[in-house]
Each structure stands twice: as structure tokens, then as C-alpha cells.
């Protein structure tokens, strides 16, 4: 290994007083060599981003590095002045962020924003700056560089914007490239392309790359070395091969164990009558124009047909814009479908007026994606749990008793019913949401990306809970997700949606094993870390710490 471009030694960053722990990162040491991708892995709050921000000198004011050194190119970055550090940013070290949608200034063309790098750090003439910018656009494989050059960020897709950010980072050929969850906000197919781009960069440039992520599949895809962090400390470090396949630290093992498996045991569901049957459902949105935009129609659901049996989990998979959310909204009648029918227990609930629907509302319940937005912050948990039964005529005291029982089922303390949502973590909130949905004894439970916002370890728990409840109550579950791994693990059957249409359906094995539609194949192909078989941690040798 060549001389490291970055070596962090015993770095400690203090948290402001009154937090739940004294340090954001503590006693952290790591090195990154040129042409090396080092992945920093950890769950939210592990301090993985703090490390990258400290290096870039972009820490929020509240956080201050107290001890240690960050040696970059022979200089301790903690000791250089703010101005000097600013000069090094962009020119010698660059960064790519998680959220491409908001990482670019909406008011300037992307060409301007890339050129700004040259303007700031070099004295190149204008023509040369533009030429270099065009080269960069080509390097990150953007089509029609000339058009892109004069486009504004909002005219580009998320993937294109992320390429712009990467191009910007590469502009001055920095020695260190820091990427903070650069693919997390992207669709699967885009993620694959961006990851590919990073691999390409490793070949073409000399930069060392610090790649922060929470996703072990991504790690498996691109990492040379891996650093695992927990509570601000490094718990394990090693080559990708070692860490992924033979983790030694219990926490690493726990994380890896929580990664959903791509296969599951087939269950026998019998040939029961369909619990939920959707026939010929269509939904078109009319997007009214604004002062400067034309009105248009979006066909969000085209002729959707499927059925689900009692006790079955049907996965609906698709990227953003595939129409899966619209489908869900039509099922729970937050939107009215244009036509088609939705049969539950012999009732076509798509046919009722909003008023007539009331008694049948409880048959289909839902758990949403965002654990923070789906509970009313101003009402106690208990109040929100009894809402459903009370709306359907139950007596409040009985409902409260039932709420206590359901709290136990979702493994929360029933006494917590008088608390407010802000006193719970994300995973706990999702359990509360599940309990809330179950309060009205639905026949069908829709989990709409219900675990997507959760850390992998929490995700695992919630998935387990969902399965338990399904089996215990004989629920029919519609599991909406963009994550193929999760879908593979929890679903019996799958539907793949693209642009409002179902393009593929079948059992998990059929869909994943022998996909018939090109889109499905493309999705499967785009999954990162395909070559990595998640090890069974229970079979690994005991921990030697």
C-alpha cells in the first residue's frame, strides 16, 4: 500500500453538552491511500458522517474536534486556518453528498456551478474553463454535454444531478474524494450506474475515496477496505472481504445478520378464495399547468389486476414513479380510481361513495413509510390508537383496553399510551403505527415502504414483527417496497410495476430466478453486491475481541 493521503489519528469530536453522549466520534483512527475506496459503515448516529465533515472542515459550529489529528498531504487539518482549509476544499479534497436533488443551487446553470470550481481555484481563461467543464461532463457519462451545460438543476434527474456533483468534485483532480451516502437517495438502476462511476474513478484517478454508507450491499460492491462504526467509535476495520464474510465484532455481525436474505422458505398458502381482488383499476392525474408550465395528464395506474389470498404477503416492487403509491392510495381510497373494482370479502369498495365506504374502511389498513410523519405529534399514542375503533362505534374504554393489548403485541409498554410520539424512536413509532392499523381488525394490511426509513437492525425487527402478526392474525399483507432484498425475504408473491403497469408477476423464486420482463432483469442486475453471499453469522467462529 502506498503512503496514505489521509490519516486520521485518535480524533475526538465533542458533542454539545446535554446530548445523549459526550462525543460525536471518539478516539478514531483511520487511513486512506490513493486509489483506494474505504467504506465507513454504520447506522444513523454512529458518527460516520462526522468523520467526513471534520476532514472537509464542514462541521456544524456546535461540534468541535478536541483531540487528535487529521493529516492530509502532510498537514494537520485541525491546525490549518479556516481560509487555508477553504482553499484546499475543492482543489485538493472534494465531497459528494447524499441528496442530489438539493445539492445544487437552483438559481445557476450546472455548467456555471462546475466552472465556479475553476474560477475559484485556478486562473484559467474562460474558454479553457468551459472546455474543461465539457470534458468533465463527458467523463461522468452525461448525455449531450452541451445541453446539460446550460441546464438548470431542476431540469435534470436525480442521477444526472449526482453526476454533476461528482463532476464538480473531480474538477481539480483532488487527492481525496469523500462521498457521503451518495447513492442512498437514488433509484436502484441509477445507484448501479453511480457506483460503477466510482469504480471507474478509482481506476482513472489517483484519489483516495472515503465512502460513507449504511448499506452492506454497496460496501460489497465497491469497498477495498471497510471501517465499521458504532456510537462514534470504530469497532471493526479490515479489507472488504474480511469484514463482509468473516466479521469479528458482535456489532458487525449483528448488522450483517440483519441484512435481509434474498431467499426465504416457501410457505404453503393453500388455495383459499382471494381476500383482496383488484380488477381493471385505472387512475390518471391531471397536472394543472402553472404560469410557465403546460398542463398534462399522468397515467399513474394502467389496468391493474391482481389478487391476494388470506395469509399471503404480496410484494409490489418498483422504482419511484412506477405508480405503486397511487395504487395504494386507490386501495385505501385516499384517491378515487377512475375505474376498476377492488373486492374485499365480496364487497367492491371502489364502488362506494366516500360516505357509503365508511363501514368498509377498516377492512384495509396501512402503515406508511415515514415514522415521523405518520403520527400526530400533538396527540398521545393512546388517543391515536383508539381513534379507529371509536370512529367505528366502539366504546372508548374498551378501545383503550384493546390498545394496551396491541401495545404488548408490538412489544411496547402499554403504560406508554399516554405519551406523545416525540418520545419514541423511529422503529418504535413504526410499531405504534402497526398497532394503530390493527386496532380496527383489518383484513388487509398495506405496508407502504414501511421499513425503508429504518436502520437495518431496526428494519429487521419490524419485519419480524410484521410476519408474526400476519401469521397470528391471518392477515393479508401488501408489501410495497423498492428494496428487492427485503421483498425477497418477506413476500410470497411479487408484482413488479413500471410506469403504472404491472410488468411481471409470480412467486419470489419465479420473479427473481427467471424474470421474464426486461425491466425486472434490469432491476435485478442493478442490485449492488450481487456477488456477496451474506454469511450466516451463527456459523462463524466465536468473537475474539
Amino acid at each position: 500500500m502506498s503512503t496514505p493521503i489521509l490519516s486520521i489519528l485518535n480524533l475526538t469530536v465533542d458533542l454539545p453538552k446535554g446530548g445523549d453522549r459526550p462525543f460525536a466520534v471518539q478516539d478514531l483512527s483511520l487511513t486512506i491511500a490513493p486509489k483506494e475506496i474505504v467504506c465507513i459503515v454504520g447506522e444513523s448516529g454512529s458518527g460516520k458522517s462526522i468523520t467526513s465533515f471534520t476532514t472537509m472542515g464542514l462541521l456544524p459550529k456546535a461540534l468541535t474536534p478536541s483531540t487528535g489529528e487529521v493529516v492530509f498531504d502532510g498537514k494537520d487539518l485541525l491546525k490549518v486556518g479556516a481560509d487555508e482549509h477553504a482553499k484546499m476544499r475543492g482543489s485538493q479534497m472534494a465531497m459528494v453528498f447524499q441528496e442530489p436533488m438539493s445539492a445544487l443551487n437552483p438559481c445557476y446553470t450546472v455548467g456555471d456551478q462546475i466552472e465556479e470550481m475553476f474560477q475559484e481555484h485556478t486562473s484559467l481563461p474562460k474558454a479553457e474553463r468551459k472546455a474543461r467543464t465539457m470534458t468533465l461532463l463527458e467523463e461522468v457519462h452525461l448525455p449531450e454535454p452541451a445541453r446539460i451545460y446550460s441546464s438548470y438543476p431542476h431540469q435534470l434527474s436525480g442521477g444526472q444531478r449526482q453526476r454533476i456533483v461528482i463532476a464538480m468534485a473531480l474538477a481539480l483532480d483532488p487527492k481525496l474524494l469523500i462521498a457521503d451516502e451518495p447513492t442512498t437517495a437514488l433509484d436502484l438502476s441509477t445507484q448501479a450506474q453511480i457506483l460503477h462511476l466510482f469504480k471507474e474513478l478509482r481506476e482513472k484517478h489517483d484519489a483516495g475515496i472515503m465512502f460513507v454508507t449504511h448499506d452492506f450491499d454497496v460496501v460489497a460492491e465497491i469497498a477495498d477496505r471497510v471501517v465499521v462504526m458504532q456510537h462514534g467509535q470504530i469497532v471493526e476495520e479490515g479489507t472488504a472481504e474480511e469484514v463482509l464474510n468473516r466479521p469479528r465484532h458482535p456489532y458487525t455481525r449483528l448488522l450483517i445478520d440483519a441484512v435481509p436474505r434474498r431467499t426465504r422458505d416457501q410457505r404453503d398458502l393453500g388455495d383459499g378464495e382471494a381476500m383482496l381482488k383488484v380488477e381493471g383499476l385505472n387512475k390518471t392525474y391531471h397536472i394543472p399547468g402553472s404560469m410557465f408550465k403546460k398542463a398534462r395528464d399522468v397515467h399513474a395506474c394502467k389496468d391493474i389486476n391482481f389478487k391476494v389470498r388470506p395469509g399471503e404477503t404480496l410484494g409490489i416492487v418498483g422504482e419511484s414513479g412506477s405508480g405503486k403509491s397511487t395504487l395504494v392510495k386507490c386501495l385505501i381510497r385516499l384517491e378515487d380510481p377512475d375505474d376498476g373494482s377492488v373486492w374485499v370479502e365480496g364487497k367492491n369498495i371502489a364502488g362506494y361513495s366516500r360516505k357509503g365506504l365508511h363501514p368498509y374502511r377498516k377492512m384495509i389498513q396501512i402503515v406508511f413509510q415515514d415514522p415521523y410523519g405518520s403520527l400526530n405529534p400533538r396527540r398521545t399514542i393512546g388517543d391515536q390508537l383508539v381513534e379507529g375503533p371509536v370512529n367505528f362505534g366502539a366504546n372508548r374504554a374498551d378501545a383503550m383496553e384493546k390498545a394496551r393489548e396491541l401495545m404488548r403485541i408490538v412489544r411496547l409498554d402499554p403504560d406508554a399510551l399516554n405519551r406523545y410520539p416525540n418520545q419514541f424512536s423511529g422503529g418504535q413509532r413504526q410499531r405504534i403505527c402497526i398497532a394503530r392499523a390493527l386496532m380496527v381488525e383489518p383484513k388487509v394490511l398495506i405496508a407502504d415502504e414501511a421499513v425503508s426509513a429504518l436502520d437495518v437492525s431496526v428494519q429487521k425487527e419490524v419485519l419480524k414483527l410484521l410476519n408474526e402478526i400476519r401469521d397470528r392474525m391471518g392477515l393479508t399483507v401488501l408489501f410495497i417496497t423498492h428494496d428487492l432484498r427485503v421483498a425477497a425475504q418477506v413476500c410470497d408473491n411479487l408484482i413488479v410495476m413500471q410506469k403504472g403497469e404491472i410488468v411481471e408477476r409470480g412467486t419470489v423464486d419465479q420473479v427473481f430466478g427467471a424474470p421474464s420482463h426486461a425491466y425486472t432483469r434490469m432491476l435485478l442486475d442493478a442490485q449492488p453486491g450481487k456477488g456477496w453471499e451474506v454469511p450466516d453469522v451463527s456459523k462463524l467462529p466465536p468473537v475474539t475481541v
Binding site: 445523549d20 458482535p250 455481525r253 449483528l254 445478520d257 385505501i332 381510497r333 385516499l334 365508511h358 374502511r361 377498516k362 384495509i364 389498513q365 396501512i366 406508511f368 413509510q369 415515514d370 415521523y372 410523519g373 405518520s374 403520527l375 400526530n376 405529534p377 400533538r378 396527540r379 391515536q384 381513534e387 379507529g388 370512529n391 367505528f392 412489544r411 411496547l412 409498554d413 403504560d415 406508554a416 399516554n418 405519551r419 406523545y420 416525540n422 418520545q423 419514541f424 424512536s425 422503529g427 418504535q428 403505527c433 394503530r436 392499523a437 386496532m439 380496527v440 437492525s457 431496526v458 425487527e461 453469522v537 451463527s538 468473537v543
Partner: protein, 304 residues
């Protein structure tokens, strides 16, 4: 699987002290640390106290004139103890008028804000919740209202119907609803998008129930903040109307009217305009500071 039996997330127990406070507790705690809010509330409390207990705070009748004791200076300008803040142009005790006037000014602010709040928030919440045509109509009405020069229209109406307290309050109430509507419309739109509203709908909650249980509590902080702003706005507008001679009718001791009367002697007896001027300034300042404080304190709870 070595540790799947370990709960990754500890089960919450009701006695757990390390968990965050309830929203209300957190709000109270923030409120107690907010200097502006404390100052504003203290001043308002003081003024309310003066208004309520005016009869006990002065032995003078605010309407009792004495043409022989006109424009006596306040005690700190060399006046006598009998009239602590002096007397006005008709020899009425200034302190008594100020104290009783607090009632009028507070009442104008409160009533005007209540009227405009009812109109504006109903319109705003309806527009924000239903969107579509309701929103189009409400937006149009807001535009019409904003395009109307408010001071002129208020003046014209008061000139027409005379300046009784009721007329002034109604005119202000009917003219100042725009900010309620604008803010509550967008706040409601925000809340409307939240998944808990969708969840309530799916759980069969009726429309009024959703509005009362889910929408209203979550736009309440905006409502309160605008309420204070408009209350201050109404008080200051009434003073401006009085200044132009079209506010509430004398001898009602409104502070705006006292300023307007004191204005006559601005250059010679500046205390006559300064005393009610400062009172009005303090009241409006305090209401605004309280509004700002409430906004800071009730800002959406941090997501950790």
C-alpha cells in the same frame, strides 16, 4: 444468530426519565427560557391587570371633566400628587383615562383579532384542506382583500357608519383576515400532506373530527402567532384611525384617541402624546414579542 434475542431497541417503560418530555412540558421549558416571551407576557399581564382593576387603581372618574384643571402636567413634570399623570384638555385625570383606556385598546385588539381570526382561519383551513375549487375561490378572495387599500376602506366605512366601538371593531375584523387565511392555508396544506391525516382518514375519522383533532392542533401555533400579530395590528390601526379623527368616539378613553387629542399640543405639552404613545408602543411591542416568543417556543418539534 448470536444476539437476535437482545432487544435492539429497549422497550419503553412509563417511568423512563431519559426520554424526551411531552410536547407541552418541552414547550413550557422553552417558554421559561425565552426572554422576549417572558417580557412580552409580563407587560401584557401588567396591562391586563391595570385594565381589570382600573377602578381600584385610581379614585378618579375617567369621564369627569374639570375645565378649571386643564392640562395639568404629570407629577414628574412638576404636577401635583392628585393627578399623577396630569389631566387632559378637558381636565380629566390622565391616569384614570389611561387605565380605563387599556380596556378599550385590549378589547379592540382582541375582538378584531377574534373576528378576523374566525373568518381568515376558516377560509385558510378550508382552502388548505380541500384544495381545488375551494382553494381557487379563497385565493381569489385573499387577492381581492389584499388589493383593497385597507386604511382607505376602513376610513371610508368609519366615516360612513360613525366611529362607535362596534363599527371600528367590525371594520378591522372584516379587513384583517388576510394573513390568517394566507398562513393557515399553507400550514394546513403542509399538515394535510402528513401521513397521520391520511391514517385518520383510513381509520374512518369524519371530516370535522380530522379538522379538529389532526389539523387544528397542528396549525394552532400559526394561528396563535397570527392572532397576536393581528391583535397588535388592529390596535395600531385603530390608533391611526383615531389620529385621523375616525377612530372610536370620545369620550371613550381609547389610547389611540388620547394620542390623537394629545397630538394637538405636541409641540407644547409633549407628555400628552408621549404617555399614551408609550403605553400603546409598549402594548404593541409586548404583544409582538409574545407572538414571536410563541412562534419560537411552538416551532415544530425537532425530529431528534
Amino acid at each position: 444468530m448470536t444476539d437476535t434475542t437482545t432487544e435492539l431497541e429497549p422497550v419503553v417503560t412509563a417511568t423512563d426519565q431519559s426520554k424526551p418530555l411531552t410536547p407541552r412540558q418541552a414547550m413550557v421549558r422553552r417558554a421559561l427560557r425565552h426572554k422576549g416571551l417572558l417580557f412580552g407576557s409580563a407587560v401584557i399581564l401588567a396591562i391586563v391587570f391595570i385594565a381589570v382593576f382600573a377602578p381600584f387603581l385610581t379614585e378618579h372618574d375617567p369621564f369627569k371633566q374639570s375645565l378649571l384643571a386643564r392640562m395639568k402636567p404629570p407629577v414628574f413634570m412638576g404636577g401635583d400628587e392628585n393627578h399623577v399623570l396630569g389631566t387632559d384638555a378637558l381636565g380629566r385625570d390622565y391616569w384614570a383615562r389611561l387605565a380605563y383606556g387599556a380596556r378599550i385598546s385590549l378589547m379592540i385588539g382582541l375582538l378584531a383579532a377574534v373576528i378576523s381570526g374566525l373568518i381568515g382561519s376558516t377560509m385558510g383551513i378550508m382552502a388548505g384542506y380541500f384544495g381545488g375549487r375551494v382553494d381557487t375561490v379563497v385565493t381569489f378572495l385573499i387577492n381581492v382583500r389584499l388589493a383593497m387599500p385597507v386604511v382607505l376602506v376602513a376610513l371610508a366605512v368609519v366615516a360612513l357608519f360613525g366611529g362607535s366601538l362596534m363599527v371600528v371593531v367590525s371594520v378591522l375584523g372584516l379587513l384583517l383576515w388576510d394573513r390568517f387565511a394566507v398562513v393557515l392555508r399553507s400550514a394546513t396544506m403542509q399538515v394535510r400532506k402528513q401521513e397521520y391525516v391520511a391514517a385518520a382518514e383510513v381509520l374512518g375519522a369524519s371530516l370535522p373530527r380530522i379538522l379538529i383533532k389532526d389539523i387544528l392542533p397542528n396549525v394552532m401555533n400559526h394561528l396563535i402567532v397570527i392572532f397576536t400579530l393581528e391583535m397588535a395590528h388592529a390596535i395600531i390601526l385603530e390608533a391611526a384611525l383615531s389620529f385621523l379623527g375616525l377612530g372610536v368616539q370620545p369620550p371613550t378613553p381609547s389610547w389611540g384617541l388620547m394620542i390623537s387629542e394629545g397630538k394637538e399640543m405636541l409641540l407644547f405639552e409633549p407628555w400628552m402624546i408621549t404617555i399614551p404613545g408609550i403605553a400603546l408602543f409598549l402594548l404593541v411591542l409586548a404583544i409582538n414579542m409574545m407572538g414571536d416568543g410563541i412562534r419560537d417556543v411552538t416551532a415544530p418539534e425537532g425530529r431528534n
